[in-house]
Symmetry: C2
Subunit: 227 residues, 2 copies
């Protein structure tokens, strides 16, 4: 695929478009205008046209977008047709939840193995996936050469485990450890799910909402009035 540099904000919106187009497809909608798509997604039509123009021309003047064709294009842009494989490292609660409840295959990723240190877990399949001993990590990752490692180990082991994975040729790390990985001079793609950052952002928006409500309430009082 020919590549132009696309802003992170656009890239982060692509999965939202995908989800919306899936919903539309499921409800039997087969085409949609940028105006209607914008209304449903809280974006302006020109924003939508601009986002898609980064990747070529998808819509047609006066017709709008063909839902399934646009969906297929976006899936391709996101690499969903590339048959990425992944290993999951650390089958604690988060790792277990991902294996049991997250449909990797819906996003074009095949989970091929898991790793943990717990002896009673090793060798037993979880969600159809064999759990290997963590001490065999580099050997087995070297054999399976997965594209992605889903990193769910405890914080303390995050960086050491990531280094092993990168040295064994893993190209992308999906990082659930809440630790900012320190991998200098590595071209590994790291995608972080920082729970803490998300909760703190929620705290910010909540504080903003509360302050605005307070300010509104105090403006409503008549000057000089006591309550």
């Amino acid at each position: 695929m020919k590549r132009v540099k696309v802003s992170n904000n656009v890239i982060r919106r692509l999965p939202r478009y995908l989800q919306k187009l899936d919903e539309l497809g499921e409800s039997g909608v087969d085409r949609i205008s940028s105006g209607e798509l914008g209304r449903q997604m809280n974006l302006t039509p020109s924003q939508i046209r601009q986002d898609f123009s980064c990747f070529g021309e998808f819509g047609q003047q006066g017709y709008g977008y063909n839902v399934s064709a646009l969906r297929a294009e976006i899936a391709k842009i996101l690499g969903m047709d590339r048959n990425f494989t992944a290993v999951l490292v650390g089958v604690g609660n988060i790792g277990h939840a991902l294996i049991d409840h997250f449909s990797f295959s819906n996003y074009g990723v095949k989970l091929v193995a898991a790793f943990d240190v717990k002896k009673d877990m090793v060798g037993t399949p979880i969600g159809g996936l064999i759990v290997h001993d963590m001490k065999d990590l580099s050997t087995i990752v070297g054999e399976l050469h997965p594209d992605i490692a889903v990193l769910c180990v405890p914080k303390f082991y995050a960086n050491d485990t990531a280094k092993i994975l990168v040295n064994t040729g893993v190209k992308g790390i999906w990082n659930f450890t809440n630790v900012e990985l320190d991998l200098p001079e590595s071209s590994t793609v790291i995608e972080n799910i920082y729970f803490s950052d998300s909760l703190l952002a929620l705290g910010y928006y909540l504080s903003e909402r509360i302050d605005e409500a307070d300010a509104k309430a105090s403006r409503k009082r008549i000057p000089g009035e006591t309550r």
Copy 2:
């Protein structure tokens, strides 16, 4: 607190600043220039000064930033001093992992109760937290009036549960259901942790990396050369 409108990108960077300042404080660093902070965070010094200028003047020309004072300011901006309380709804794997391993208190949030439908779970404490029966959700939330609900129920129940929470006065939802909540005419703050979007973004960056490496490899070949 007086409020100016701050861009989402700045807000999303605040938790990263907080984490970096915590690290610096732990390593005994008590002041830092915007240049050095920028170097450590892959941001330009002017970007950093611009970010902080949204909230007032924190640094001092020629001195830089006082690490603990700046940390305290950012914590305050993020509402970490507001004693927010939270309930966790749905103690499946993700919910369980959050109770066991996520330090809500580190972010100024106190987890006060959990809810689940599973009879064997109800009444037993998990991580020091009492698990209530989901059927008592609105009654108990009405009594505890938490600021935040951590929503970890299965997809199918996401919207109905969210509606109950909003109707009972919850002001913020931390949404782990991977479902875009549909709460029209509600001023509830929703913060989503979309695992799928994150994995898809990883797929995008990985595809980009692979294509760039391929392009580089093909440029290296001498024109006319066969391999």
